[in-house]
Symmetry: C2
Subunit: 436 residues, 2 copies
C-alpha cells in the first residue's frame, strides 16, 4: 500500500490507508492507546483498540519520536472529541503498527520551552518542535520570495565566493583559512566586491551568500556565520533608486510571507508588519533631532529601537530608512553625497528596532576609488582583481545587503537572532559548545 | 527622460528615447560613427551623424567598454543594412551622448577567445563577453529550476553551515579555519550531516550550499570551492525512491533550461540533453561487463565517458545511473544493500561522461551507524551532535548531491568546469594567481 500524507486523510474517510511519521504523544488508556502521529503535512490522531491485538502490544512500547508506519481506517471522530485544525475531526483506527525507527528517551519533551542554550545543544531534536519547524518554514519562504522579487525585476542570481584572497573591507575581522602550500586565504565578510563586478555582465545581480564575521561580539544580534541576501544594480541616479527597489522587494516578501504563513505568525503572536505606501526616510541628523540625541556618527541599538517606535507611531510603519551617515564611517566604496559632504549616499533599513539591511550608491569611477582606498590606508595593489571592473568601465551603481537571520527574527519577533539560524555559529559554539 | 531598455526600442519606433549601456564596438566612418551599445536586455546600433556636432566630438573619444547614456530617435535601418536578431532592423540616431564612465585600453577585445588562464585573470572583463554572460545566465536558471522542482515536491530549503567542527566525512581533505581563541574549525566538505538532521523536522529538505575540497587535484573536473545542490528525503524504501525524485528534478531542470535558453545552447553548439522515458540504471558490475573492464571498486574517468557513450547509443540517453558500488568505497553513512552485500544502495548519476550527482539510501538506525563509524575508525563522540538525529528517531531516508558547476559545464559542453564557476578557486588561484 502506498503512503497517504496526513493532510490527505479527510478525503479518504472510510478508506483503509497507510500513514507514516513520528509519534508526538502517546496516551495510554489501558484498553485504548492514542497516538499523535506527525508527518510533514500535519499531525493526526491514531487509535489502537483491543481488536488490533498485535498493534496494541507494539503500541505499548512506543514513545515520543519513534517513527512508525500505521495501517488503519480513516474515521470521523465523535462530535464531542473533535479538535480545531484541518485534521481535528478525523482519526485513524489502527489495523497494524510497524516501527521504522526507535528513539531513546528524550532529555525533555520536544515542545518544552527550553532556554536558548539548551535549545541549541539539542538542535537535531528541538528543530522538530512546532517552533523550530515554523521558523525555518517561514525562512525558506523569505529566501524564495526575495529571489522571485528580484528575478521579476531582471536581476540575475550568481554564486558568490566564500574563500577570498584578503580581508577586502579591512573592517570586519575576517577568519583565516589554511590554503594550499602554507598560503593563507580568508572567509568573505561580504559578497560586496563580487556583486559589483557582476554589474559589468548583468547590470542587475543578486546572491544569497554566506558571510563570516570574526568579531568578538556576544549579543542577541550577532552571528559568526550569516546568510546575506545581496543585490547590486547599475545605472542608478543615486541611493534612492536602490532604496526604491529594496522597498518593493521587502514589500513583496512581507506580503507573501503574511499570505502564506498567517498560522505561523499567529503562533508567534507576531503582527503582520506595517508597510505604508512609502517607508519613511530620515537623514541621520533628522533621526538625532527627533530623538534629541547628540550628533554621533552612527546609531546606538537603543536609538534604532526608539526611531522605529517613532516611525510606527507617526507613520504606521514597521520599517524606516536612515540615510546620510558620515562617509568616513561607511565602507570605502561608499559614494559621498556631493551636495551633503561629508555625508554619504549610504542607508540602513531598520525593521522593528533592528538594522536588517545596509546599502549605498557606490563609487564607480576608477580614479576616485583608488584615491579613496589610499585615503583609508588600503593597498590598491591587493584589490587589482576587483579594480579591473572599474578600469574597464562600470556605470553608476548601488546595492544593499539584507541579513536573512535578522529579517526572519524580526518577522517573528524572536528575542535572539541565533534562533533564526538553523545551525548558528558564534564565539562559543559550532554545533556543540566549544571547550573554553 | 527615463531610460528605455534596448529590448523595448522596437515599440518606440519614431520616438526620442534615452538608452544607456556599454560601448561594445565603435566603427568610425569619418563623417558617421556607429556604436554597438549593450545593456542587460540586448545590443543596439547607434548612429552619430554630423548633425549632432557635440555628440560626434564625444563619440570620437569612445572606446570599447566605455559606459554611455545616449538620447536619440529610434529609426528603421535601411533594408540592406539589417541584421538578424530582435534589434537588427532598428538603430538609434543620436542627438546627445553622455559619458557615464570611461574605460582604459583593454588587454584584448572582450569577445576574443582567450585561453582559460587569461580568461580567469581578467574575469571582471571576460564575464562581460557573450560567453560569460551566457554561462551564468543559464546557471542561474539551473539553480532556480532545481529549487522550483523540489519546492513543488514539498521539500523545504534550509541554509547549511560552512563552518563545521570537524572534517565530518574524514575523507575529502578539509580546509582548516582559525576560529576564536586558538580553536580550529573546518570548512564543510558537504552539507550531508545537516541535511540528514533536517529530515527530522521536514522529512524533505534541500539546500544550495558551498562546499570546499582541499584535495590536491589540478584537473578540468575539480574546484576547491563548489556549489552543491543537495536534497534529502525521509520514508524511502530504498535508493530507487531517491533516484526517482532526482530523475524527475533533472528532467524538470533540463526542460526549463532548454525552453528558456535555446539561443545560448545554440551559441555553444550544445544539443538539448537526451532524456528518455526512463534513465538507464546499471550496477557497477554491469557497467564493467559492458565495458569489458576488471571489477575495480570505482569507475575511472575514461570508463565514465565510455558508459555514457554506450547509454547514448543504446538508450538514447545523455544520463545513466550507476548503482551498487562497494559499501567500503562509499561514505560511512551509506546503506548496504542487504541482498547484495558487500555492495551498497549508493548511486552516481553520469551526464555526458561526467559524474554530476552522487547519492544513496543512508543508514537510519543509531546503533548500526555508530558501529559503522567505529569500523571506519571514526570517533562517534566527535559526531555526537549529528548522532542526536538518530538517537531520537529518524526514518529510512536517502538523498543526493548535484554539483552545480559540473551540471552547468555538461549542459553547455564546456571543456573545463572552472569556466562554470563565476569566481573559481583552485590550487593556484583565488581570483588572482597565487604566488608560487
Amino acid at each position: 500500500m502506498t503512503r497517504t500524507l496526513n493532510k490527505n486523510l479527510p478525503e479518504n474517510l472510510g478508506q483503509t490507508v497507510k500513514i507514516a511519521g513520528w509519534v508526538e504523544v502517546r496516551r495510554d488508556h489501558g484498553k485504548l492507546i492514542f497516538l499523535d502521529v506527525r508527518d510533514r503535512s500535519g499531525t493526526v490522531q491514531v487509535v489502537i483498540t483491543p481488536k488490533a491485538t498485535e498493534a496494541l502490544e507494539t503500541a505499548k512500547q512506543l514513545r515520543a519520536q519513534w517513527v512508525v508506519e500505521v495501517e488503519g481506517e480513516v474515521k470521523a471522530r465523535p462530535e464531542n472529541m473533535r479538535t480545531d485544525g484541518p485534521l481535528g475531526s478525523i482519526e485513524v483506527v489502527v489495523q497494524t503498527v510497524n516501527v521504522l525507527s526507535e528513539a531513546q528517551e528524550l532529555p525533555f519533551e520536544v515542545e518544552t520551552d527550553v532556554n536558548i542554550d539548551t535549545r541549541l545543544d539539542y538542535l537535531p531534536l528541538t528543530l522538530r518542535s512546532q517552533r523550530g519547524r515554523d521558523i525555518f518554514t517561514l525562512q525558506a519562504t523569505i529566501v524564495n520570495a526575495y529571489g522571485e522579487a528580484l528575478r521579476k525585476r531582471e536581476f540575475v542570481e550568481y554564486q558568490s565566493p566564500v574563500l577570498v584572497g584578503s580581508d577586502a573591507e579591512g573592517g570586519a575581522a575576517a577568519f583565516t583559512v589554511d590554503y594550499y602550500y602554507d598560503q593563507k586565504a580568508y572567509l568573505a565578510t561580504s559578497p560586496q566586491l563580487y556583486k559589483q563586478i557582476m554589474v559589468g555582465p548583468f547590470e542587475r545581480a543578486f546572491t544569497i551568500a554566506k558571510v563570516f564575521r570574526g568579531e568578538k561580539h556576544a549579543t542577541t544580534r550577532h552571528l559568526s556565520e550569516l546568510t546575506q541576501m545581496d543585490f547590486e544594480m547599475g545605472f542608478v541616479n543615486d541611493h534612492l533608486d536602490v532604496m526604491n527597489v529594496l522597498e518593493e522587494v521587502v514589500r513583496d516578501v512581507v506580503r507573501i510571507v503574511c499570505e502564506r504563513h498567517a498560522d505561523i505568525l499567529s503562533r508567534f503572536n507576531a503582527e503582520n508588519p506595517l508597510t505604508p505606501e512609502k517607508f519613511p526616510i530620515l537623514k541621520l541628523s533628522e533621526v538625532q533631532k527627533i530623538l534629541g540625541a547628540s550628533d554621533a556618527p552612527d546609531l546606538e541599538p537603543e536609538q534604532e529601537r526608539s526611531i522605529c517606535e517613532w516611525a510606527k507611531r507617526e507613520h504606521a510603519s514597521d520599517f524606516v530608512f536612515v540615510t546620510h551617515f558620515p562617509t568616513k564611517k561607511r565602507a570605502f566604496y561608499t559614494y559621498e553625497d556631493p551636495s551633503e559632504a561629508p555625508y554619504s549616499r549610504g542607508f540602513d533599513l531598520l525593521f522593528r528596532g533592528l538594522e536588517i539591511n545596509s546599502g549605498s550608491q557606490r563609487i564607480h569611477d576608477y580614479d576616485m576609488l583608488v584615491a579613496r582606498m589610499e585615503e583609508r590606508g588600503l593597498d590598491p595593489e591587493k584589490f587589482s582583481f576587483y579594480l579591473q571592473a572599474f578600469k574597464y568601465g562600470l556605470p553608476p551603481h548601488g546595492g544593499c545587503s539584507t541579513g536573512l537571520e535578522r529579517f526572519t527574527a524580526r518577522m517573528l519577533e524572536l528575542p535572539n537572532v541565533k534562533e533564526a539560524s538553523a545551525f548558528p555559529r558564534d564565539m562559543t559554539r559550532v554545533d556543540a559548545r566549544l571547550s573554553e
